[in-house]
């Protein structure tokens, strides 16, 4: 991608305008057009399918010390039901007495049903070079089974309401060396960081557009990235300490964004730069 931007920029440099300002505006438009073309080209074949296939195997195979599959794992629509499950998460689960997003629920099933220790279930949430993450594969499969389904996150239980309210507050919490909050980059329409468009996640339209396109295969990383990863990496760039996988804050923020995305058609795993 950086090479692509550079090529686009070089091409844009030949774009001549009458004044310096016109030249700049012209260069901008061309670079953005080129990136739009690049993104369109990416849509033709998504390696996320590899993660989806591996995730489906993981879902159906007996595993862990308990040698049981996820057939007994209830993602909110009944034991083993995957179709449409992601589009109604996060939600309150009475058996855990906690609001859970998909990753948190998967870890719960791995610990309570498959017999993994908490440490083993959470030790590899994000894949890297030579290190595949089962969680990412499972998330790829399960989310793919909500493709085309309308987001429908409930807010009936008091703990669901509480999670949303906390997530809304956390979104504007300023901290760290740079005074950044989520809102700093995601609180206004039509903004960019460098050439990257930023969704305004404080509007329903912005939350719908962004939330329904995660998880995503990230070309620049060669990995399928989950929403837990998205939050984790945002906070890294925000200069905060490290967001703990499946922490209450991660679930509250997911609740805030997922609920605001209600009514939009879920369309992931997607592919991004």
């Amino acid at each position: 991608m950086p090479a692509m931007i550079r090529r686009a920029a070089v091409r844009a440099a030949f774009c001549v305008g009458a004044t310096a300002i016109a030249t700049t505006a012209c260069a901008q438009t061309s670079a953005v057009d080129e990136i739009a073309k690049y993104r369109a080209a990416l849509q033709d074949g998504n390696p996320a399918e590899l993660w989806e296939a591996r995730g489906e195997d993981l879902w159906k195979t007996p595993r862990g010390p308990g040698k049981v599959s996820f057939a007994t794992c209830d993602l909110g629509l009944g034991p083993g039901v995957v179709k449409g499950a992601y589009a109604q998460l996060p939600k309150y689960f009475a058996d855990a007495d906690r609001v859970m997003d998909l990753e948190t629920r998967l870890v719960w099933c791995m610990v309570k049903q498959q017999g993994y220790s908490e440490a083993d279930a959470t030790k590899n949430p994000f894949g890297g070079p030579g290190q595949k993450s089962d969680i990412e594969a499972l998330v790829a499969y399960i989310t793919s089974e909500s493709r085309g389904v309308k987001m429908n996150v409930a807010m009936d239980h008091p703990k669901e309401k509480e999670a949303f309210a906390l997530g809304e507050k956390m979104f504007v919490y300023r901290g760290g060396t740079h005074d950044f909050a989520c809102q700093t980059c995601h609180g206004e329409d039509g903004k960019r960081i460098r050439l990257q468009d930023l969704p305004n996640l404080m509007t329903v339209a912005g939350a719908q557009k962004a939330y329904t396109t995660w998880p995503a295969y990230r070309v620049s990383q060669g990995e399928l990235r989950t929403f837990q990863w998205r939050l984790n990496d945002c906070f890294r760039q925000q200069r905060f300490p490290e967001l703990i996988f499946t922490s209450d804050a991660s679930i509250a923020l997911t609740m805030y964004l997922a609920r605001n995305a209600n009514g939009a058609v879920f369309d992931a795993p997607s592919i991004k730069r």
């Binding site: 509480e162 309210a165 919490y173 740079h178 909050a181 809102q183 460098r194 967001l243 922490s247 804050a249």
Partner: protein
């Protein structure tokens, strides 16, 4: 039966705790709870310790009025305390080397837990601002700074303002999106001078 009664009473107590005696939590209570939950949801990593989640007065006030303009008295208080804390150059020289300033403006690394604590720390100014016309990969969270000095004049007052703004943006606009680069120890005083030069030196490509 005794056990069942105990469970029942426990449930009532838990429900009371959740509902706070059947009233909704106040906005301030929700904010306090959000801050507490947030702090329990992070772990220290490398140079990013948990103390980064502790807010100073400015961060706290700006969080409270997030998304809204703070009331005039609050904004004035924030600007006053931040202005008073600015460390001005001892020699009265606000401008360093604009070429170095350009490197600092381009550098996105620094202060992330994934960054080498001994490695470079930049301002990453292009993430949010147009600056020199040669760099077309710029963000739009902040205003364009192209021709910053040329449009405003190269006066000492304007040099001082540019330096102060980079050192501590909240001194001039309460709850700015812009980091307080000098105040928060992101950039050194020399680096702040160099970036000031990028904006205010007549020889800088910004002013061509």
């Amino acid at each position: 039966m005794r056990k069942l009664a105990g469970v029942y009473l426990g449930a009532v107590a838990a429900a009371a705790a959740v509902f706070g005696c059947a009233t909704m939590p106040t906005d301030a209570q929700t904010s306090a709870r959000a801050a507490a939950v947030l702090k329990a949801s992070f772990r220290a990593n490398g140079q990013a310790g948990l103390d980064r989640l502790d807010q100073d007065d400015t961060q706290q006030a700006c969080t409270q009025y997030a998304g809204k303009t703070p009331p005039k008295d609050v904004a004035e208080r924030i600007e006053k305390t931040n202005l008073e804390s600015i460390v001005w150059p001892g020699d009265g020289k606000y401008l360093g080397d604009w070429k170095n300033g350009e490197r600092i403006a381009q550098e996105g690394r620094g202060k992330q837990y994934s960054d080498d604590p001994k490695g470079p720390v930049g301002g990453n100014c292009y993430a949010c601002h147009q600056i020199t016309p040669q760099e077309v990969s710029y963000g739009t969270i902040g205003p364009s700074l192209y021709q910053f000095g040329k449009l405003r004049g190269y006066s000492d007052t304007m040099r001082k303002y540019a330096y102060g703004k980079i050192w501590n943006a909240d001194a001039y606009a309460a709850c700015s999106n812009m980091p307080r680069f000098g105040h928060s120890g992101i950039l050194t005083q020399q680096q702040v001078k160099d970036v000031t030069a990028l904006l205010m030196d007549p020889e800088s490509p910004v002013n061509k």
